[in-house]
């Protein structure tokens, strides 16, 4: 357990933990390959129950242990399919562990799918009652809370309409409202905050904060790392059914993020490699390359998509490198990065321009320049050469960007033009919007009280 847990004032941290999973393994059985003529074969073997034995398994969680003290807000993060939801379902008691034990103290309310038990044909009012009873309330308890539930869901006018007439947002709001008004000691939340509009999301967050204040235990499964950092006392990171890290949310999130980046890096490197192989397979001029006609635009028409030009000068390698000179596909906003082009001139040329362009995912040119624009005079190029453009601070907002790199004649006729072949991703902890992040700071004067968040 992390130190942060002990430093925080949990209501009954000394007592039994609110949620305890001990060496839990969950193996899902796949019954998939038995889809045809199943009953027949079962009957022929005269053993219906034996036929129900799984023939293929999938381990969703292996030897997973977790202790969540009462009053703790705990975040569970991880990629899709890492076992987060399985863990939540185990805590909720919806599925049973294959091995290990699960113990939960107190009434649970699980927000796994909002409004899961709603019947479309009957009114919101009746659904509130039935949903409430399903979640463990008595009729009287629901009557007492009914107005509050409806008010929270902002559905007062529609509560007597059948649920099938609700919009999906209304449906979810009602589901959320019922589930949180059950007044559970343990609240399980599976990625359901994306309900309804901005205003309602805020209300939901307030509700969680309220839970926290009252010393309830919350287990949150989410992809919103921001939420984990803001709300959770502790966090754990699940990867392929195993716990990779646990403890302080900031640390866990940071570890997770850097792992995701490594993974993305590998992925981008692979797709880059693929792009390179594909263009290499494109019809290359025979060696030695034929002399380029004065008017080479005709070559543009034969060019393969993504790469064209006479290849008198060829771009043999494109590398994006971080400040340490390491090749990178993921950079952080504001980092110093370099773009290095390796070129090979099949015959000496004196008429050449190197150019780069950065495009965002929507295809908008974020920035473009070349050696002529930046006032260089081309003199001669022969054999191999390396050209590096360094951006001291790449102040782009988070997103995926693509690169154009080219070497062409002064009149624009290309030797080798790589169009959007190279991809890199900019990561940022700030969620600002747009394309470019001008360096900026805020100052305030007069009757305003505003302070940076701690």
């Amino acid at each position: 357990m992390s130190n942060s847990a002990q430093n925080k004032p949990f209501g009954s941290a000394q007592g039994r933990p609110a949620i305890e999973l001990a060496h839990v393994t969950k193996v899902y059985r796949r019954y998939g390959s038995r889809q045809f003529a199943t009953l027949k074969s079962a009957l022929m073997r005269r053993n219906l129950l034996a036929e129900l034995q799984p023939n293929e398994t999938f381990t969703a969680l292996s030897d997973f242990s977790l202790r969540i003290p009462a009053g703790c807000t705990f975040g569970l993060i991880g990629r899709n399919g890492s076992g987060k939801s399985t863990a939540l379902k185990l805590v909720a008691g919806i599925t049973k562990p294959t091995k290990g034990t699960v113990a939960v103290q107190g009434r649970i309310s699980a927000l796994i799918e909002l409004g899961a038990g709603f019947h479309p044909e009957i009114s919101g009012r009746e659904n509130v009652f039935i949903n409430g009873i399903m979640l463990g309330l008595t009729k009287r308890e629901i009557e007492k809370r009914f107005d509050e539930i409806v008010e929270f869901a902002e559905l007062a006018e529609f509560i007597d309409e059948p649920v099938k007439t609700y919009s999906s947002g209304m449906y979810m709001r009602l589901g959320f409202s019922v589930a949180t008004h059950v007044d559970p000691e343990v609240l399980l939340v599976d990625e359901v905050l994306a309900v309804g509009d901005e205003g309602f999301t805020h209300k939901c967050l307030d509700k969680f904060a309220d839970f926290k204040r009252r010393g309830k235990t919350v287990l949150l499964v989410t992809h919103s790392l921001n939420l984990v950092e803001r709300f959770c006392d502790e966090a754990a990171w699940l990867d392929a059914g195993r716990k990779r890290a646990e403890g302080d949310p900031y640390r866990v999130v940071a570890e997770y993020v850097s792992d995701v980046e490594r993974q993305e890096e590998r992925f981008l490197a692979k797709s880059d490699e693929k792009a390179r192989l594909e263009t290499a397979a494109a019809p290359l001029p025979a060696e030695p390359p034929p002399p380029v006609p004065a008017d080479a635009t005709a070559d543009m028409m034969q060019a393969t998509e993504g790469r064209w030009g006479s290849r008198v000068v060829e771009i043999t390698d494109v590398a994006f490198t971080d400040s340490n000179g390491q090749p990178a596909h993921i950079v952080h906003s504001g980092d110093a990065v370099s773009l290095r082009l390796a070129v090979h001139a099949h015959r000496p040329v004196e008429d050449f321009v190197f150019g780069v362009g950065i495009f965002n995912a929507e295809g908008v040119c974020v920035y473009g320049t070349n050696t002529t624009i930046d006032e260089f005079d081309a003199q001669s190029l022969s054999g191999d050469a390396t050209i590096t453009v360094t951006f001291d601070a790449l102040d782009l907002v988070e997103g995926t960007y693509k690169l154009d790199v080219a070497v062409h004649k002064l009149d624009g006729v290309p030797y080798d033009y790589h169009r959007l072949l190279h991809t890199f991703r900019v990561k940022s902890r700030t969620k600002d919007v747009g394309v470019y992040r001008p360096r900026h700071r805020w100052s305030f004067a007069g009757n305003v009280s505003i302070a940076p968040k701690s």
Partner: protein, 277 residues
């Protein structure tokens, strides 16, 4: 298994609301609403009465034939609809099983109970017809009015709750068994609907039990025979003492066995539902 059964008692409130919801949802949007629970059997009886009075000469040994038919048909409808609906109930309620902590057996049980309520609501209609015909008597094949018949008999009617209870236990047991197996073997749904068609004719509903001397042995093997014959003896033949009670008591014991067997299978497969549904 015993623990889970005991747990079930805690969910009475939920079962109640779900049955109410099922019935409400069934007629939601219709102008007459719950009236249809009475209206359907009423119209059924009127139509059969008209058909067998004016169009088709019914068998003379059970008169009025439309009433005889309904005494067997109404419980059969309860039985058959319950099985049909509960078979599909776990798959239809998959969302609940996967996303909400929920004792799955509630779903087939609710199907059986909702159909039972429909059946119970139809009983007063049936009773009304029985009393009416008893008072006016019936025209024989020659058009001569027969003597008035004995109407419902209190000494016989005390058996009725037991018959209903035995049917409830038997149907629930089968519903649990079938619903659990259908999750894994979806073919059961189609097999069942065909089987029920055969089963209907293999039960003395459209013909009286006593008229089938040759096949009596086979008919007796069918548990629903004894339920239907019990209803017929109590409701339609109140003039004779309820002679089928021995069969009924035997069936009661067997039904409890079926119930526990069904529940046992259901309980064994319970953990797989959330994963397979």
């Amino acid at each position: 298994m015993w623990h889970n059964l005991a747990q079930l008692a805690r969910y009475r409130g939920l079962i109640q609301s779900l049955v109410a919801r099922e019935l409400k949802a069934r007629y939601r949007g219709s102008v007459l609403g719950l009236f249809w629970s009475f209206g359907n059997p009423l119209l059924l009886l009127l139509i059969y009465s008209a058909v067998f009075n004016y169009f088709i000469t019914a068998r003379a040994d059970v008169q009025p034939y439309a009433l005889f038919l309904c005494c067997g048909l109404l419980p059969w409808t309860w039985f058959a609809s319950s099985l049909n609906e509960s078979t599909n109930s776990l798959i239809a309620g998959g969302n609940l099983i996967k996303k909400v902590l929920f004792p799955a057996e509630i779903l087939p049980i609710v199907s059986v109970l909702a159909n039972m309520v429909q059946f119970l609501l139809a009983l007063p209609i049936l009773a009304g017809f029985l009393i009416y015909y008893a008072n006016v008597g019936i025209a024989g094949p020659d058009g001569v009015m027969g003597p008035p018949r004995v109407a419902l008999h209190a000494a016989e009617l005390v058996w009725l709750p037991l018959v209903v209870f035995v049917q409830l236990v038997l149907t629930t047991g089968l519903a649990l068994l079938l619903s659990a197996l259908t999750v894994h073997f979806r073919d059961i749904k189609d097999i069942l609907s065909n089987l029920l068609t055969f089963w209907f004719f293999a039960t003395p509903i459209i013909y009286p039990w006593f008229s089938m001397e040759r096949l009596k042995f086979w008919l007796d093997l069918n548990p629903v025979t004894h339920l239907v014959v019990s209803y017929q003896e109590i409701l339609f033949h109140p003039e004779n003492a309820f002679g089928h009670r021995a069969w009924l008591l035997a069936l009661a014991v067997a039904s409890i066995g079926v119930f526990f067997a069904g529940y046992w299978v259901f309980d064994r497969l319970r953990d797989s539902f959330a994963e397979v549904v």
